[in-house]
Structures are given as structure tokens and as C-alpha cells.
């Protein structure tokens, strides 16, 4: 069985705007100078703590009526089925920014909650950045093979239930990047994301 491909060394730059948005600075709102410097110092720290790693695996799929079959597993979601209706290949992806930053957030939340809140937002956005980078990579691999890559879809969106995380685990072996699934289908470390995108021959 082909195993998932491991990717690390993401070389992420800090998603400052997205982190601000997550902290409530909507639209044109900007932090004042003092708060801005504070956020930036925590953001700089977050980049030194994260250990971003990811996995992907290219699988043949068969979209059904209200589910998608992949490697013998069923992904139950009409929305996902509609997204992948023109695809016979999909790419399973997972990223994490690691355990250390989650531990640091917890430490900060008890000692310096202001830093904890900013670090939490930073870590969430860095995980999103890592997934975005992996997704772009998949798009480029797809292009080389003559495929267009669809948008990505994650368990927990619309009717794509969180229990589908188990399928991601079976297909990707999330343990390879130190990610586990809790009994309530949450990913641990917390700042981890799984997603699926399709490859369609529609250039």
C-alpha cells in the first residue's frame, strides 16, 4: 500500500492580517502602535515555536449518490460528493503546527492570558497557512499531471461530519505527524487540520 507523503519545513511567513482578523480587527480596523507591537512580538515568538508538518496522499475515489468512496472507506457528505462529482482522484491532506505551541498557549493562558490569546490566534492562522501551502503544492502537482485541483473541504463543514476524521487517519496515518483523534473526533494537538481536495480533468 502506498503510504502518505510527509512534508515539513514549510517556511511559513506570519499571516498578520488573518491573525488580526481572528483577534477581532475586522475590515479596516488596525491595532494602535502599542498593541500592534505587542501582537507582533507574540507573533514572532509563535514562528520560533511551531513545528509545522503535513501529510498528503493521492487516492482514487468514486463519488456515489450522497457519499464518496475512497480506498474502501466511505466519506458521508452530500456537499463533499457534489464538490468531487467530476473527480476520480482526490488528495487527502493533514497539517499540524505541533505540540509545543499548544503547550505554550496553555502556559500563557494561566500566567499571561493576553499573550495566550494572541498566541492562540497566531497558531490557528499558522496552521491555516500550512494547509494553504500544502493545498497549493497539491495544485502544482496536479497541474503537472494535467489536473485542476478543487477547493478543499474539511470534516466539520456543513454535512461532512467530524467522525470522518477516522477515515483521514486510516488513509494518512496521522500518527506520522504526531496527530491523534479524540473519542469526540477532535484533532490533538489542537492546531491541526485535515482536508480533502479533488483533482478534475477540466483544464
Amino acid at each position: 500500500m502506498t503510504e502518505s507523503t510527509l512534508i515539513s519545513n514549510f517556511n511559513l511567513s506570519f499571516p498578520y492580517k488573518d491573525t488580526l482578523r481572528r483577534l477581532g480587527y475586522a475590515g479596516l480596523a488596525e491595532p494602535d502602535k502599542k498593541t500592534g507591537l505587542f501582537i507582533k512580538s507574540v507573533a514572532d515568538e509563535s514562528l520560533t515555536i511551531i513545528e509545522p508538518r503535513g501529510l498528503y496522499r493521492i487516492c482514487e475515489i468514486a463519488p456515489g449518490r450522497d457519499s464518496v468512496k475512497a480506498n474502501g472507506f466511505m466519506l458521508e457528505s452530500i456537499y463533499l460528493r457534489n464538490l468531487l462529482k467530476n473527480c476520480n482522484i482526490a488528495v487527502f491532506m493533514a497539517v499540524t503546527v505541533g505540540n509545543d505551541i499548544c503547550a505554550k498557549i496553555e502556559n500563557y493562558m494561566s500566567a499571561e492570558p493576553s499573550k495566550g490569546v494572541v498566541l492562540d490566534a497566531s497558531a490557528s492562522e499558522l496552521a491555516e497557512s500550512a494547509m494553504e501551502k500544502l493545498h497549493n503544492m497539491i495544485k502544482n502537482i496536479g497541474l503537472q499531471k494535467g489536473y485542476r485541483t478543487t477547493i478543499r473541504y474539511s470534516p466539520g463543514y456543513k454535512d461532512f461530519g467530524l467522525h470522518n476524521q477516522l477515515v483521514f487517519d486510516k488513509i494518512l496515518d496521522l500518527n506520522r505527524i504526531g496527530v491523534q483523534i479524540t473519542p469526540s473526533y477532535m484533532l490533538k494537538p489542537e492546531k491541526s487540520i485535515t482536508a480533502i481536495a479533488g483533482w478534475e480533468k477540466n483544464i
Binding site: L6, N9, T35, P113, N140
Partner: protein, 797 residues
Amino acid sequence: MNKKELMDLINKKYVVLDGATGTFLQKEGMPAGACPEMWAIENPAVTKKIHSAYAGAGSDIIYTCTFGANRIKLKTYGLENRVEEINYKLVRLAKETAGENVFVAGSIGPTGKFIEPVGDLPFDEAVDVFARQIKGMADAGADLLVIETMMDIQEARAALIAAKQTCGLAVMVSMTFAQDNRTLTGTDPVSALITLQSLGADVVGTNCGFGPDKMLDIIKLMVPYAQIPLMAKPNAGLPVLRNGETAYNMTPCEFSEFVPEFIECGIRFMGGCCGTSPEYVAMIHRNFKDKNPDKFSVQCTVEGISSRSKTVFFETGKPLAIIGERINPTGKKVLSEELINGKMTELKRLAGEQAQAGAQILDVNVGVPSIDEKKTMREAVFSLTGYTDLPLCIDSSNAEVIEEALKHYPGRALVNSLSAESEKINKLIPVLKKYGAMFVLLPVDDKGVPETAAERIEIIEKTIAILELNGIPARRAVVDGITMTVSSMPQAPEETLKTIKYCTGKKLLTTAGLSNVSFGLPERKWVNNAFLAMAVSHGLSSAILNPCDEQTMNILSASCVLAGRDKNALSYIKRFQQGTVEKKEVKTVRPVRLDCRQALIQGDKDTLLARLEEELRSGREPLSIINESLVPAMQEVGIKFNRKEYFLPQLMLSAEAMQDAFAYLKPYLGKGSSHSIGRMIMATVKGDIHDIGKNMVTLMLRNHGIEVIDLGKDVSADTILSTAQKEKINVIGLSALMTTTMTEMETVIKDARSAGLDIKFMVGGAVITAEYAKKIGADGYAKDSVEAVDIAKSFFD
């Protein structure tokens, strides 16, 4: 065919490569899912047909059908033990077809795996995988090798190193770039070129990914820095879907219209990739056949070092290359301890700090006594290449450590340093040669550090002669002028400057450290910076310094303007215009004195604690401070938050200051004197591990005089309700982040109601709405921590 024979060929003619092979095989009946290499062996007539079609169309070099014939790819078909045999047979098939005037290039494609630290394939294993493939090809008489369609610079490096250590054949290396002009793992065309040509590639270029139009842009980026011939193998335009199959949109005629521009750019080799066929190759041949190329000569003598995604050039007459010196454990306790424990957080922090301050290259020294320097250096290189795009300067006195770093470094590094001490030079020269690294040349020999410039120059000349004998050009050296202490040797700076001036005159690159010069003097920075300015005027091409020292960086910037190294003062103006350097306020503004209420609103902890101390000393009651100053101040923060004048970080800064203020005042509150307005429980419900929102609410509640028993996250209904009963609490706050866990809130509330407990519930969390709260029977819903305080207070009224 060795390098010289290849150069002879390109001095005679523009070289035509072949076209696509995979699509050709498919057209000839290769079934989907078959191993192309094995199918090519089992169908020799088809394989020969492809080769002879391209040879007949005018190809000077044809590629073997060995693109995926490496151990890792062949394993998919259970053929991993037949690597050498498969490569041997396929090269023989091509050789039998090629004829006298057509050369056979052994094609080497990617393994499909990523090399450490991006992936999990160890570098040495990758080299071994390619070496096995190359051995089969070389044994079969391949004329040269072509490493093609590489999407990761580290894999291209591994294949090139394997080629160089397995045989003496000439090697072409061809990278594939995506729409953003970067490879899959982020390498730009210039960095790829700098890395591969320094590593010994005989030809560098690009194939696949684009049609000829866009590929021209890639080639144009490479041309100014190429010291070796360039090649291009574009697709037949863009892919389109025709009858459910992928096809390409450019005809041979349309494709050929671009060939003259490729020639004009300076390309020496051209063929086609996906979608091309012998007809396309024939068109290239038609364009090439009447053209006589100039004798190839190296136009570019500018040297640079690269990371995976960035190149820094050492250019005389331009602003200096700044080498940040701070990643060095000497005198840095935190860094030393972390390196000993295998942690890289401080190392990354120092890298980030220097990058922001304007460093262009990072010197990396991990030499802590008794540490495994080789292992630590490898980990440092892995960490830094994933953290910053700045090229690295590998700083060690141990050749093995340097080799380990260079092997794993996905670019071309600078090495600090090579001296003329016989033992060191003998060990380091083979390493520098193998990896093509640039290096700091320290004019020190077995007799020690020479005091005069004349002695240093003698060592420099002698070392360069040895290097050139070993095939390492002098332009790869960056000579360290050697900075010594002026207080003990008054002529020392003059000797350093003379050495720099000599090297500049000889077109040798130079560098210098600064701080030694001022040793033993007071206010050393003035001496260091003056020395730097003088060295710049003598032609210094790079400096090893602390970029976080703003004064040094400002002096350096100004010196470059005065020495004519910053044309139109553009860099200087940019430095000060962009606000990278904060202009110091000339006017003294009288600071506003904050009282404790204002200090809390501004989240200024230090001022707040100072004011509390003053208030207590003046005889004010602690409870009055809390109730009349602090609590109203927090209320104002809440109002500002609701009005969107304040955002989460400010809310938390104030909350944190309030928490510290409570802790400070607590010992002064008399017994029975309490500001508590009630007690409640906070919990994140069972199954949910996200508790940051709950923690924020807890902090805010406590700040408003509510005593909170925080049960943490993933808490069962039983635990929540039994605690409430035991502690006689009748207000509970529940939090959940996910749709799958929010249902647990309903369980808690239902259980409480059916047990007849008189408890008020407040709920919140990212996915919770007021409607949902109402539906599950909650008494209140809070969208954020400020609202949570108001609701909880209302429960206690």
C-alpha cells in the same frame, strides 16, 4: 562524454534535444498502470521507434526511457531489485538506435519522495538511490546524464552528487517550475541555477510546466547569472481537454516561432516536453541548423550564495552583504542550553531578529563545548531552512561538521572559514570542492596570525594558488582582512585596511569582523563603527556584524553612500523612508501621569502596580480601590470592547493587569472584607478540548468579583453537577467550540433540571447562538467574555 567534450559540441552547434516520451509510449499501446520502463524493455521495437523518430527529426541528444527507473519508483511494481539491469537495458536500446552522431543521455527523474527535512527520505539514501540508477546507465555506455523534471532542489542536488561520485559523465540538470516561477518546494530559477552550477552541473535549465512563451521568462531570469550553458524543454503550449484526454494547444509551427527568441536569450540546448513529438523537434532543428553559436565563455563572474528560495550576491561597487553574527553560543546562556538540549527556539528567534534588522546572510555557529556539533549543526540547518529564507554561513572549525551542514543545506552556503593551516586546508578543500560552497578565507597559517598586511597577502596568494590547483576558483573566496586590537597594536587597523584594499584591487571579495578592533577601550561602539566606515571606503564587500545594532547599520548605510556603493543613495533613502529605523524624537514630550484607573484601562501592568502601592501608602482602603477604581475601569474596558474601540488583545491586557492588581491587593484585604459578588462554575463540556474561550471568560468574571471554580475542559455532566451540589453553587457557565460537542450542553442542563437542581446556566462558544441556547433551556447566552460578565452579574442580582 565529459564536460570538455560537451563544451566542444556546443561550440560547434546549437544542440537539439528530443521531445516527449511518455505520451509516445501510450500512443504505441502502453496500458495504463504499467511500469513504463519495463514496458519499454518488453517492447524494444516501440522504444527503438521513439528514439529513431527523434534522431531522424534532428535530435543531437536523445533521452533514455529511464525517467522513473530508480529504486523507489520501481518498488511500486516490485522491481526494486532490478534497477541496474533495467537502466542498463534501456540505455543499450537507445545506444543501438542512436547512430554515430546522436548522443544518448541517461534520463533521471524524481523519486516521488521528499528529502529530509521537507520529507522523510534521508539525503544519503536519496544519493544511493540515484547512484544505483546511474551505475547501470554508465555501465551501458550512456554518453551523458540528464537529471530532469526536478521539483525539489534537494532532490536535484542528491542526484547531481550521485552522478559526480559515480562517473565522470557530463550532467545536465533541468528543474520544473510552477506558475509562480518557483518549484514545488519554493525554489526560484536564480537560486536553482546558483545552487546547481556551483555543485558541478554542466548544463542547467528547465523542462515541463510551461509552454515556450512562459518558459522564456524563466530562462531570462537565469541568463544574467549563468556561468554554464542553459537548456530549455517546454511543453507544446497549455494543456486542454480534447475528447476527455489531455492535449496541448500549440502546433509545431506555433511552437517553433519561439525558438529564435530562445537563441537570442543565450540558450544552447532546446527540445520539447509534454505534448511535443518528432514534428516539434524537427522545427527546432530547422531553426538551429544554420546558426553558428559563439564560443561559449563565462560572461557572469558575480558570485552568490543561495538558500532554497533566495540568493544573495557579493557585488563590488554595491552595498555590502551583511552577515548576521548572533547565532553563536559564546556568551549566550539560553542558546547554549537549548542547543545542548536539542531545542532550536532561541536559534530561530535570533535568526528572525537579525532578518528583521537587515541581515542578508546568517552565520551559524553551534560550537558549545562537549556538544555533538555535527548532529546539532544538522538540526540547526534543518530548523533554519524551515524558518527563514536567508542563506546561511556555516561557521565551524571542524571539516566534518561543515560537510554535514553542506550536505543537508538546500542551496549554496558560505563556509566560515578556510585557513592556510596545513591540516585544516587539506581536510576542507575536498569538502568545498564537492559542494561548491563559497568560503571565508582566513589568512592564517601554521605560524599563526600574521601581523602585517604583506604577510597576510603572501598567505592569501599561496592559498589561492593551492585552491586553483584543486579546481576551486579564487572568486569563491571571501577574504577576511583579520581585525586585531588597536589598543595593543596601534598599526593593526591599518594592516587590516591594507589587506582589504589589496584584495579589492585583485577583485577578491572581502569580509571583516568589527568588535576585535576596540577591545579594551571604553564606548567601543564608536571605534567599531568608525572602523567599519573606513573598511567600506577601502572596498570591503561584506561584513560580519550584529545587525540588531541600529547605530552600526545606520553608519554602514551612510558609508555605502559616501563610498559610492549605493547608487543615488537608494538603499539609504529606503532605509529611513520605510520607517525601518525609528526616528528619535527631538522634542521631549512630558509623559502623561496615569492614575490606577487609567493604567488599568491601558493595560499597563507596571504603572498600575506602582499606583496601587502609592494609593495604599496614602491610606486608601484596598476595597475602595477595587470597587471605586478598578471595577469601574474594567467596566469601561468592556464598553470600549463593545464599541469596537478595543479588541481582544487590549481586553486581555487590561484583564491581566486587573488579575495582577487583585493578587497585589489580596494580602491587604482584611478578613471578612471581600469584593466577591458570587460564586459560579465554569467548564468546557465533555468531548471538547478547546478551552481558550472559557479561560478568557473565567478571567473576566474573576476580575469583576465573581469567584469561579474552573473545572477545565472535557468535563462530564456528572462532574459539573456534583461539584455544584457539593459547593452549593447555582450558577454554571458552559463552553463548547464544535457542533459535535455543543449537544453535551443540553445533556448537562437536562440532567440538572431532571434532578430538580435550581441552577442558572449561561452558555457560549464559537458555534453557539442565542437560539440554540434558548432551545436547550439555558438561562443566558454570551457571545463574548464581556457579555458573559453582564449575564453572570444579572444572575447574582
